[in-house]
């Protein structure tokens, strides 16, 4: 079993943040808000959030807010629910949710709920259960869940349940680990996990593990990928079925995906690294209780101590 090169990954993330002019960076410019969430949450999980210029990040985030209340992926980009959640999550990391006009953001998100309880990503109407999760997660962090029809939102998610216990992006769509995470986490946050067949889904999820490499894939007969260490794993944790996979084998797979020279983690061993997979690898290791990584909440995808402070210990002193 290898070791986690935490220092290298921290340096990799800080370096990527600065390299805005490369072709790769240009290609990702539209989702820089997501990138901020992946990079900064990883830093926090490794105990290094303090090295970042908080004021600079917060100010840039606010520049990405549109007059509708939603956030774009970068300055000047159209608002979308995807980047709105990342913005709220990053502000939460810095304990700066209060800089928001909470009502305005909540109104934007609530306005995206449709008659059938589903959510559109933006005013152009793409519907996907990813957006249901995003709306529920963001509004919950803002303590504004009552702004939407939660019952209808839950019913829509349940209508996307499949024969294998999993969930797809719309009713009738095939089960996919990413969608399953979104639906299971949304049901968890709204206290609706009794709609999940935990045994059937748990078995489908545990069969994502490739016996040879130990990695997890996203659906049957596909290749293993580190990002599924999050989506499959967090789903298993939420429904208390994580003991159905071989945890040690998965840890080994994630560690094998590290670039031990330059830092960062890739989708598969010896592939190119990126911040996306670095985050999911570290988050996965957190869920596997790897030493030196802070515990992460499987539904909010934020550190446990942060989530506990937001929902339970608001008036208690920071331990």
């Amino acid at each position: 079993m290898g070791e986690l090169a935490a220092e290298k990954h921290v340096r990799y993330i800080l370096a990527v943040e600065k390299k805005k002019d490369s072709y790769e960076a240009q290609l990702m410019e539209h989702l820089r808000m997501n990138g901020a969430y992946w990079g900064l949450t990883t830093l926090d999980l490794l105990g290094k959030l303090g090295v970042v210029d908080e004021a600079e990040v917060v100010s840039w985030i606010m520049e990405c807010q549109h007059e509708s209340g939603g956030f774009g992926g970068n300055v000047g980009h159209d608002p979308h629910i995807l980047y709105t959640l990342s913005a709220v999550q990053v502000l939460a990391l810095f304990d700066k949710i209060y800089v928001l006009d909470v009502d305005k953001v909540a109104s934007y998100i609530a306005s995206l709920q449709n008659e059938d309880g589903s959510f559109s990503g933006d005013i152009w109407g793409e519907v996907d259960t990813r957006f249901s999760y995003i709306a529920i997660c963001a509004l919950s962090l803002l303590h504004q869940l009552d702004r939407i029809n939660v019952e209808k939102a839950v019913n829509y998610i349940v209508s996307c349940k499949n024969m294998d216990g999993g969930f797809g992006c719309t009713p009738g769509a095939e089960s996919h680990a990413g969608q399953i995470f979104c639906c299971v986490a949304a049901l968890a946050i709204t206290g609706s996990l009794h709609h999940v067949d935990r045994d059937r889904l748990g078995w489908w999820l545990c069969e994502r593990q490739d016996n040879k490499s130990g990695g997890l894939n996203g659906r049957p007969e596909k290749l293993p990928d580190v990002c599924y260490s999050w989506w499959v794993l967090s789903s298993l944790i939420i429904i208390d079925r994580v003991h159905w996979i071989d945890k040690n084998k998965l840890i080994k797979f994630i560690l094998d995906c590290q670039d031990l020279e330059k830092g960062g983690i890739s989708d598969r061993p010896d592939d190119a690294v990126d911040v996306f997979h670095t985050y999911f690898g570290i988050a996965g290791l957190s869920l596997l209780e790897y030493p030196g990584v802070k515990p992460i909440d499987p539904a909010y995808a934020l550190p446990v101590d942060l989530v506990d402070r937001i929902f339970v210990l608001r008036r208690q002193p920071k331990a």
Binding site: N162, L193, V312
Partner: protein
């Protein structure tokens, strides 16, 4: 991102890379400028098209192009030719983007948005989808788009079903096709479409189809889940029913009414404070249901008016639960009398009680029993000074009584009544028996999936047949299969162990004869005279799951020690439970103890030597009642919920939430890393009635 090699061969020098980056940056900034200044001339549209070809994920461009279309359509009104041309141009742009990235959400949605604007040339759209699917049959965007277009075209489900058959015929290793087949068949079954009702014939054909897949390539998962879905369809029981209740029908319940001062306890067992009167009525259903209320459940007794009863779901969910409880109030009973009171509970098959799928019970459930109250008060002598309950072997002796009479073991619901064994059950039994025979034939090799399916089929068969003779043999076979699988597929060891435990408990509670082996008499001074307390001892069975709880609703004392339990979900239905031993198990957090909060009679608890405090990740964090899952409201002042101890309670807030709801007199908690001096202080404040802690008698605070 995905699939790019870490150190690519140097195919490109730095200058070329810089040029590409510069070109992209230039396009992006020009586009943003046009977008913010609402410029939609030819040149601007060309910029946006080129940008999408280089980077179809740049989502703002798709918005911009939609705005351009809308501006055009608003401007020209009904000019059809122009509009057709514009829409075709947009479809071409989307198609070009799909060539670059087959999975671009933006490109697929753009096509959907355009088709919603004008439903032209849907045939051509379907042709394109067919073409794309032939190149990648697992692309879920294509399958979803296909579903969308088929609906717009009003294609018949039969045709779409045939398409899935064709795809599977070409290559059975296509999970997407199997999935879509299940969606279409579900719809046809649900509306009882012609040719698809009754479903037995179709199911038989589907079993044959999926078997070809599984036995040609046993390691390919494509057919596995479809097979299990077929199994669900085969034993599909529509109506929920009551499978167990407490007090059991035709039983005589003996209660000791404690008329002494509140706060004192005479006996742990079957004793209810007359003033507080927590006498539970439990109804246990075959699946989660909602809607129990005084109008759907009638209770006739001396104690209370039926309308006064509140039925509560025992699970965490606010509405659906398998087990429901209502508490009878005994305070009307006069002291000194020693009467026998009849009680009748009737659960109606009206509209009110329904399962998830909306089905109602098909017939009434009636339970008649009697309650006999024996009063004790301080005039009967000194209040009983209890010793601690001890779980040592020497305190138990084999139960030799008449099992049939004294242990109300509910007959498994499907075999309740030979008359009730429906045609559906008989058909299901026939299909399952046939499939099992076939599997036995084909299982030449020791395939994991073959053994697992055989175990699952046998388990399913067990629920639909009423033949007791073959049950025992069948369960032994299932246990052996799971044992084989544990050795064959070690990465999934824990999964098979869970299934093994479930089967073991199913077997243990399958008949009075077998069950009596686990029943023992607890002999100790704390048992009141005339009462015989039976302790069910399931210790040291390597159990990883605790199930078959519908058979244990009457149990007052339960030993589950020395197992490997991670969760005690479902135990909340055991409303009679007074003493529980969970020592030496694998409980990993306080949250796993959540079900105990609803056991109002629980006084003695042993959770020593578990793993509470060993884990940084809590796998039951969202499965208990807490502010995180919106099942405990935190809109009231949080400080009220937590005793003012600052850091200590913050560190142990989950433990606080659990223990403040327990009314224990005896607790064993040693051997869990979480327990330190601070925590013990906290515990004593949360459990004011505690007399014994870790074997020591406590002094009054």
């Amino acid at each position: 991102m995905h699939g790019r090699p870490r150190n690519p061969a140097k195919g490109e020098d730095e200058a070329a890379a810089a040029a590409r980056a510069s070109k992209l940056r230039d396009l992006q900034s020009r586009f943003l400028h046009n977008h913010h200044h609402n410029i939609y001339d030819e040149e601007a549209m060309e910029v946006s098209a080129r940008l999408l070809e280089m980077n179809p994920e740049y989502y703002t461009v798709w918005n911009y192009r939609k705005m351009a279309v809308e501006r055009y359509m608003d401007g020209v009104g009904g000019d059809c030719d122009g509009v057709e041309g514009v829409l075709k141009r947009e479809l071409d742009v989307a198609q070009a983007a799909l060539r670059v990235n087959f999975k671009s959400y933006g490109a697929w949605h753009h096509r959907k948005w355009l088709l919603n604007k004008r439903r032209s040339s849907l045939d051509k759209e379907m042709e394109l989808i067919n073409l794309l699917q032939s190149k990648d049959s697992r692309n879920f965007h294509a399958w979803n788009h296909r579903r969308f277009v088929a609906a717009l075209m009003n294609s018949s489900e039969i045709d779409e079903l045939k398409y899935t058959r064709d795809v599977i015929g070409q290559n059975f290793s296509n999970y997407s096709a199997w999935h879509n087949r299940s969606v279409i068949l579900s719809s046809l079954f649900k509306r009882k479409a012609e040719g698809f009702f009754p479903k037995e014939k179709i199911l038989n054909a589907e079993y044959q189809l999926v078997q070809n897949a599984i036995f040609t390539e046993p390691d390919d998962q494509s057919g596995w889940f479809y097979y299990l879905w077929l199994l669900d369809q085969t034993i599909d029981v529509e109506a929920p029913s009551v499978i167990s209740s407490w007090p059991a029908p035709s039983s005589e319940l003996f209660i000791t009414a404690d008329g002494s001062a509140p706060g004192t306890v005479i006996s742990l067992f079957r004793s209810y404070q007359v003033n507080t009167g927590i006498f539970p009525l439990v109804l246990y259903f075959s699946e989660p249901v909602k809607g129990l209320s005084p109008s759907t459940v009638t209770v006739k007794s001396f104690f209370t008016e039926s309308v006064g009863l509140t039925w509560r779901p025992l699970s965490n969910a606010n509405d659906y639960s398998m087990a429901w409880v209502a508490y009878l109030d005994l305070s009307k009973v006069k002291s000194g009398s020693s009467e026998t009171y009849p009680v009748e509970v009737r659960c109606h098959h009206y509209q009110g009680i329904a399962s998830f799928n909306g089905f109602h019970c098909s017939h009434d459930f009636v339970s008649k029993f009697t309650v006999r109250i024996h009063h004790l008060d301080s005039s009967h002598g000194k209040l009983h000074e209890m010793g601690a309950i001890s779980w040592k072997d020497c305190n138990f002796q084999k139960y030799e009584g008449d099992i049939e009479v004294s242990i109300p073991l509910p007959v498994k619901w499907s075999r309740m009544d030979k008359d009730q064994e429906t045609v559906a059950c008989k058909d299901a039994g026939a299909i399952l028996a046939y499939e099992i025979a076939l599997l036995h034939e084909l299982l030449a090799v020791s395939d994991k999936i073959g053994k697992l399916l055989l175990a699952r089929l046998s388990t399913a068969l067990d629920t639909v047949v009423s033949d007791d003779a073959s049950r025992s043999h069948r369960m032994e076979e299932i246990l052996e299969l799971y044992g084989d699988l544990m050795a064959l597929d070690t990465p999934h060891l824990q999964y098979y162990k869970d299934q093994h435990s479930i089967t073991l408990l199913n077997q243990a509670t399958s008949s009075s004869g077998i069950f009596s082996r686990y029943c023992w008499l607890y002999t100790d001074v704390s048992v009141p005279a005339g009462e015989r307390v039976i302790c069910v001892r399931f210790n040291s069975l390597s159990l990883t799951q605790f199930t078959s709880i519908e058979c244990l609703l009457w149990v007052q004392m339960l030993d589950l020690s020395h197992n490997e339990l991670r969760s005690i979900n479902g135990i909340e239905a055991m409303q009679s439970l007074a003493c529980l031993n969970l020592s030496n198990n694998n409980l990993c957090s306080f949250t796993a103890l959540d079900p105990l909060k609803r056991l109002k009679s629980l006084k003695v608890l042993d959770i020593s030597h578990n793993e509470i405090g060993s884990h940084s990740i809590d796998t039951t964090r969202y499965l208990w009642s807490s502010p995180l899952s919106r099942t405990v409201r935190m809109d009231t002042n949080c400080d009220d919920a937590l005793p003012v101890d600052g850091i200590i309670t913050a560190k142990h807030w989950e433990g606080v939430f659990i223990f403040r709801n327990l009314r224990l007199t005896q607790l064993d908690i040693t051997g869990n890393p979480v327990v330190d001096e601070d925590f013990v202080v906290l515990l004593r404040r949360l459990l004011p009635k505690l007399v014994w802690l870790d074997g020591q008698r406590l002094n009054a605070i």
